[in-house]
């Protein structure tokens, strides 16, 4: 049996982005002994990529904003499949979480009165996103990191968890390896929080880093937890499309928030051609009215470019498909045009969107203050994840909590931009609080040494095979999966190809699991990719199965064979669970009824 190092903690947190860090700070503040495990170095998590801002109804720019409006916007954006309790908690608590970041040293852009400035974003009725230029995620993670390192938790960097460990029906720890040495670690803890982020690496065109392999989704699923909403994957409408090496790289919605116009090859602002009934009353009739909105005219309505991401992505796909796309298969996003409208336009763009300016200048050789960008949809975010209790964030398995992207419910069928950063800190804090309380009440349980041994054998197995498959490499199998998901479980779906995708993922899993790897255990990315693959297969299968089950089009899920929204399906979400025989079980589940008081808020917000 290979050796491992053992660690005892009250709370183990897997993932150190915004949600994991916030949970660690909270649990530590409550006196728990905390382990914070990062797959990468601390402070490098995908949170740094969040650009636009953090949604919180503080009303600093428009005093008409309130938690009620934010709640109603979130529910409408999610096409009412959201967990209403989570949407309520989120809308009520995010202003405090923003102010708390400021108290910990974050520096946001300011209003003329010296308060935190808020910007417009898709689906938000009022300017609501607290932001710092277009690097809000970096500001958030650095603030949490710099505050966090003085709170007394232990951090384990570049450590990947491969299995959760259980005591009966309860999670009591986890098994993982250090990237640097390849040595194993066993964590024993009273409660475990998954804060592992998303699944973007299941797709070829993605804004997500190598880390986004659905680790928490698969760890939780394998430990018996239920996944929901896995058919809802957000394709961000504006990723870079050229040059090929940066395809999928995010272009912030903030560009449109500052007045950026989406145009087709004919120069037409095509977003104004198709405004969904749900948003008719809130959307400008003309580009002119839209511009007035962007510049703060409170009698004007939002430009059509600020419709929700699912809709904008579909309109872009339509333009490209109908032959009105840009030279490299996207459409044009033009911010340079605002120079006609404001003095010092060039300066203004550089100040408001510095990293976009930099990104296009360096990587595409294009000056966004002079020329339009070419953009197209990119896999960005998964609304689906572990089903959690809205108050405590505990999953359907005792002692296992989830927060941030890996948890589901808040966003329903489509997430509004800006609601992710606030989600991380609102529910990260709650997960930390309730996990610490759970650990205190229930102690640490007992670790099963046989489970530890199984996890070790599993991790080492690819070194022991000598069958020639090491020449294939895990990277190639991952590319195969990415191509498959992109083609068959992408923006537009249908029954035949979804069913094929389910079978092909199951088949590809066999190939992936049978691979051998070269080299030794010391910092060996080929081995790491092999170990990540099993998680990608699980989320790939879950997305395909859920997408196959939902026979309608709603939010981020579009079926060509069921192109309309079906009111009947609006009552259900889809749950996925590991069955007794190891196969994935799909179940349609009725949503809990919404209390009248919340229904009334939604009606009042029209």
């Amino acid at each position: 049996m290979a050796e491992h190092t053992s660690h005892e903690h009250d709370v183990l947190i897997i993932g150190s982005g915004g949600a994991g860090l916030r949970a660690a700070i909270e649990a530590s503040a409550l006196g728990a002994s905390v382990a914070l495990v990062s797959k990468s170095l601390l402070g490098k998590a995908h949170t740094v990529m969040a650009e636009g801002g953090m949604a919180a109804a503080m009303g600093n720019v428009d005093e008409r904003d309130s938690w009620e409006v934010h709640f109603a916007d979130t529910m409408r954006g999610g096409q009412y499949l959201n967990n209403w309790k989570m949407a309520e908690i989120h809308a009520k608590e995010s202003p405090d979480r923003v102010r708390e970041l400021e108290a910990w040293g974050a520096v946001f852009d300011r209003t003329k009165e010296g308060r935190i400035l808020q910007r417009n974003f898709g689906g938000h009725a009022h300017p609501r996103l607290a932001h710092v230029g277009d690097r809000t995620g970096l500001e958030m993670i650095r603030t949490l990191q710099d505050h966090g390192v003085h709170q007394g938790f232990d951090d384990y960097q570049e450590c990947t968890i491969t299995r959760l460990l259980k005591d009966g029906d309860r999670v009591v720890g986890a098994f993982g390896y250090d990237r640097e040495s390849g040595r194993f670690r066993v964590f024993h803890a009273g409660a475990v929080i998954l804060a592992t982020g998303g699944i973007g690496q299941a797709y070829k065109i993605t804004s997500n880093s190598w880390e986004g392999t659905g680790d928490g989704h698969a760890l939780g699923y394998d430990a018996g937890a239920e996944l929901i909403d896995m058919e809802f994957i957000q394709f961000h409408p504006t990723g870079m499309v050229w040059p090929p090496s940066v395809r999928g790289l995010l272009v912030t919605e903030g560009v449109r928030g500052e007045g950026g116009a989406l145009k087709n090859s004919e120069g037409r602002r095509f977003m104004f051609d198709d405004i969904p009934p749900l948003y008719k009353n809130q959307t400008a009739d003309t580009p002119e009215e839209g511009w007035r909105y962007v510049t703060g005219d409170r009698s004007a309505r939002r430009p059509a470019e600020l419709l929700t991401r699912d809709h904008v992505a579909r309109c872009i796909v339509r333009e490209v498909k109908e032959g009105r796309g840009s030279p490299h298969g996207g459409v044009f996003l033009d911010i340079a045009w605002i120079k006609e409208k404001i003095p010092n336009g060039e300066e203004h763009i550089k100040r408001k969107l510095p990293s976009m300016y930099h990104q296009f200048k360096e990587l595409a050789g294009l000056d966004i203050t002079k020329e339009p960008m070419e953009v197209g949809p990119t896999t960005h975010y998964v609304m689906g994840g572990l089903r959690v209790d809205p108050e405590t964030q505990m999953s359907t398995v005792r002692g296992l909590f989830a927060a941030g992207e890996v948890a589901a419910g808040l966003h329903g069928a489509n997430r509004l931009g800006g609601n992710s950063l606030s989600d991380l800190v609102v529910f990260g804090k709650r997960a930390g609080e309730y996990a610490a309380a759970f650990a205190k009440e229930h102690g640490r349980g007992t670790l099963d040494p046989e489970a530890v041994e199984r996890a070790q054998r599993e991790a080492l197995s690819p070194f022991e095979r000598q069958d020639g498959s090491e020449s294939i490499g895990a990277y190639k199998v991952q590319y195969e999966l990415q191509d498959l998901m992109q083609e068959k479980v992408g923006i537009v779906r249908e029954e035949g190809t979804l069913a094929e995708a389910v079978d092909e993922v199951v088949e590809l899993r066999k190939k992936g699991e049978g691979l051998a790897v070269t080299g030794n255990r010391q910092f060996n990315p080929g081995w790491h990719t092999y170990l990540d693959l099993k998680n990608l297969f699980t989320v790939g299968e879950a997305c395909a199965r859920a997408a196959l089950a939902r026979e309608e089009s709603r939010g981020a899920h579009s079926r060509v064979d069921f192109p309309e929204k079906d009111p009947e399906w609006g009552k259900y979400i889809i749950g996925l669970k590991k069955g007794p025989d190891g196969s994935m079980e799909v179940a349609k589940q009725e949503l809990p009824p919404m209390p009248d008081a919340l229904k009334k808020i939604i009606e009042e917000q029209g």
Binding site: S40, L41, L42, G43, K44, A45, H46, V48, M49, D96, R99, E102, A103, W104, G105, V107, F108, R110, E113, G114, R115, I116, V132, G133, R135, L138, E139, R142, D146, H147, V149, H150, Q157, E180, S209, W210, P243, P244, S245, V246, L249, L250, S355, E362, L363, G473, A474, Y475, K476, Y479, V517, T518, G519, N520, Q522, F523, N524, P525, G526, W527
Partner: protein, 250 residues
């Protein structure tokens, strides 16, 4: 199809060598793409750090043709095509394997810097009033992505290995961000003068030259900090004025 040659350092703390690889070249490709292609095709266990691939996380720091760079922001077509592109790990930190170095020292240094300590909130809801002009100055420092390229190039660390005496440009920038934060009330001048070794910097501006975020490290962060220390130590009159006006912010 055109191809390119790379000389990539392979090895660990016990030794190693440059190995040459050939891989195909695509339009707009960056060095990190080429390294990833080599990894997928010829060297599955090639160790390299990366995350965002957009110049925002600061993970893929390395030395490309001898220059400290982010691999994800260095385009192949900006490098001379007539000879192989050399890619090697940062030299100021202990090597782990191939292109990966042990940067943990940086995390330890940061813990030693006195954290942010705000004045009492201006309002009952816990918020403060600050104007854009008050915060603009620290914004430059807060752009830092912690790639540690400035640490890598700093001769005090790179050549003289004074890691115990000097916190390096990254953490002088961090300290400057705290010291010039409009709400901060902590005083770090004594630390800067003594344990943080600010005096060891002799303003060669190498750090500023390599910063991928374009932070004017020497002029805007280090020199003002050096001035503060001098003011504190040798200018009792100014200190008295500051005491009376209550202002330290510039």
């Amino acid at each position: 199809m055109s191809t390119t040659k790379l000389r990539i350092w392979r090895g660990d703390a016990s030794g190693g060598e440059f190995k040459e690889y050939e891989t195909k070249l695509d339009e707009g490709m960056v060095v990190l793409d080429a390294v990833h292609q080599v990894q997928a095709e010829d060297a599955h266990d090639l160790a390299v750090r990366w995350n965002c691939k957009a110049g925002k996380c600061g993970s893929c720091s390395a030395e490309v043709n001898g220059m400290p760079r982010l691999m994800c922001m260095t385009r192949m077509d900006d490098l001379p095509a007539d000879r192989p592109v050399t890619v090697e790990p940062m030299r100021a930190f202990p090597l782990v394997k191939d292109l990966v170095t042990d940067v943990s020292w940086n995390y330890e240094v940061k813990k030693k810097i006195r954290p942010f300590k705000p004045r009492k909130p201006d309002f009952d809801d816990g918020s403060w009033r600050m104007h854009q002009s008050d915060v603009d100055r620290v914004m430059e420092f807060r752009k830092c992505i912690e790639c540690f390229l400035c640490q890598d190039v700093c001769h005090v660390l790179r050549e003289h290995h004074m890691h115990d005496e000097f916190i390096g440009p990254r953490f002088l920038v961090h300290t400057a961000a705290l010291e010039m934060h409009p709400l901060d009330t902590e005083d770090r001048r004594e630390d800067l003068r003594t344990s943080h070794g600010t005096g060891l910097c002799n303003i060669t501006k190498c750090c500023t030259n390599v910063c991928p975020e374009g932070i004017t490290i020497t002029d805007n962060a280090i020199i003002p900090l050096k001035e503060r220390i001098v003011d504190e130590a040798y200018d009792p009159l100014k200190k008295l004025v500051q005491l009376v006006t209550g202002g330290r912010n510039e």
